[in-house]
Amino acid sequence: MYDHLDIRCPRLGGEVTFAYCQREGGDLPCPRILACWQPYFPVETYLRKKLTQTEWDRCFNRQPKDKVTTLIELIEAAKKRKSLQD
């Protein structure tokens, strides 16, 4: 009943549906889904029913990384993929 609802995504800079937010992280919702949607409907209650505790923790209780650290990690990961290809 919520999937079709629209919101402006502050990361993308465009409108997305709740359905997108629920799978933004692949098998997990976008980590900001609670902050973005809670003002509109009780998204926390909804997701607590839908996610396992492990999934909840993976999505919401993991520490985010700063941009430079993320870049370094992505560089290392890309190098690894390249060496496997070679």
């Binding site: 973005c36 029913k49 990384k65 941009k67 890309a78």
Partner: protein
């Protein structure tokens, strides 16, 4: 009649960028390498950035010369006008003078080319042939596409597929400027191919698009990566806007009481505000307000810490607004607090109480933006509406206090390719969904027993 617009002659354009790192009241701690725990050095970033930009990233020189080649391109639309919002002042009926820098006059319609032009130039000067980047709805991608074209660089933009399919206009802008705009995930990278193999219908995300852009860079020695926000050199390039504003205000003998900018990754805000932050550090009595969305309250609700990213301590963080790795989030705070997109410079200035961060609800911001459009005429980018909402708040405060104030803000871009957002607001789609509790319970019951994803 008082003048509405203040111009600078082209010969008056600032010839140096301002580097706030030279004036920070307390030093910023360096980011640490996730593998070694040691400060990240130039060589760590060399696979994705040219060394001349890395030097700017770590520079503590207060003033950095703007190359002539960059100034020549800036002059296509700079200096941008400083305008007085007379009609909006009348509408607000408050004892305020409101000035704004119109950054919407650039070819892509935003402040983004201030750094895109500079980054394209430095990459070209370093011998790079191609730039790669990611973009959400396309504001950054379009600015970089134009800049690359101006310096004869090839440009590849990985655009999040959901936006690629829904937002044709910025994609068309990128293509018009000669860029190769690719929906992400794509088959151009190993990262993209792996995701598509698992889920051919994957709508993409910024995380995937960044992975693709980085891989695309690392696997081609003639390519480098380009980022439109957060990093120190990006904020540095943006300061041309605030430096122009200072000269323009000086011409009319005005100095602001309040400077406002909207903030996502920080570059928009920093461009106008950092030269005024310098004044504040040097004793000026001025308020500097960073307006951000409530949906990503990265500045307003976090606690400042220097923290490891997880319990096994493999991901050290920059000192930023953080939950701490043992934190269990409160319902509404968690998602936003996990967003560490804010520039470290900005986080540091908030921590030092030099900048005040305020969050605004998206409905409040669109309401302000529509009022702006109906008085000043210009349709603002949705992000810019956050700054306008802060201006409205300050004007109302001045009215309540009976104090005259001068407010300066960054009108960071027009919203002519974001009209779908206005449509959503005006048609009532961006609104609170007040669903009765029994309906919610009914909905939740309907998914009980279903397999968990």
């Amino acid at each position: 009649m008082d003048p509405v617009k203040v111009f600078l002659d082209e010969s008056e354009i600032p010839r140096q960028w301002y580097n706030i790192l030279a004036d920070m009241p307390t030093p910023m701690s360096p980011p640490l390498h996730p593998g070694t725990g040691q400060p990240i050095g130039p060589d760590d970033l060399a696979p994705v950035f040219p060394m001349n930009l890395i030097e700017q990233e770590v520079s503590s020189e207060r003033w950095i010369d703007i190359p002539e080649e960059v100034l020549e391109k800036y002059l296509i639309w700079r200096p941008t006008p400083l305008c007085r919002a007379v009609n909006f002042e009348r509408f607000l009926d408050a004892p305020v003078q409101i000035y704004y820098k119109n950054e919407g006059v650039s070819p892509p319609g935003s402040h983004k080319p201030n750094t895109a032009i500079a980054q394209a130039y430095y990459n070209k000067a370093f011998g790079i042939k191609r730039l790669s980047t990611e973009t959400g709805a396309g504001q950054w991608g379009s600015a970089l596409s134009m800049a690359c074209q101006m310096f004869g660089l090839e440009c590849r933009v990985f655009m999040v597929k959901v936006s690629y399919e829904q937002k044709p206009y910025r994609r068309i802008m990128m293509m018009t400027w000669g860029a190769n705009c690719i929906p992400s995930p794509s088959d151009k990278t190993e990262a993209g191919r792996k995701i598509l193999a698992e889920d051919p219908e994957c709508p993409g995300s910024l995380g995937i698009a960044i992975s693709e852009a980085i891989e695309d860079t690392v696997t081609d020695e003639n390519a480098r990566y380009s980022l439109g926000s957060v990093l120190n050199h990006v904020l540095l390039h943006q300061t041309i806007n605030g430096l122009e504003a200072q000269k323009q205000l000086e011409k009319i003998g005005v100095y602001p009481d309040i400077v406002v900018g909207c903030t996502g990754g920080g570059s928009n805000f920093a461009g106008l505000c950092l030269p005024f932050v310098r004044d504040k550090i040097n004793g000026k009595d001025i308020s500097i307000v960073a307006a951000e969305p409530t949906s990503c309250p990265s500045l307003t609700r976090g606690s400042f810490a220097y923290d490891f990213g997880d319990t096994i301590m493999t991901t050290p963080l920059l000192p930023m607004y953080t939950l701490g790795h043992e934190f269990v989030p409160a319902p509404i705070h968690a998602g936003g607090l996990r967003y560490h997109g804010m520039a470290p410079i900005m986080s540091h200035l908030v921590k030092e109480d030099i900048i005040e961060a305020r969050a605004y609800d998206q409905i409040e911001t669109f309401d302000a933006g529509v009022r702006w459009a109906r008085t000043e005429g210009f349709i603002s980018a949705p992000e810019t509406n956050h700054a306008i909402a802060a201006v409205v708040q300050e004007a109302n405060r001045a009215k309540e206090e009976g104090k005259e104030k001068v407010i300066l803000f960054n009108w960071s871009g027009h919203g002519l390719v974001d009209l779908a957002a206005y449509d959503a607001f005006l048609s009532g789609k961006l609104t609170k969904y007040d669903l009765p509790d029994d309906e919610i319970q009914k909905s939740l019951k309907s998914i009980e027993g279903l397999p968990k994803p």
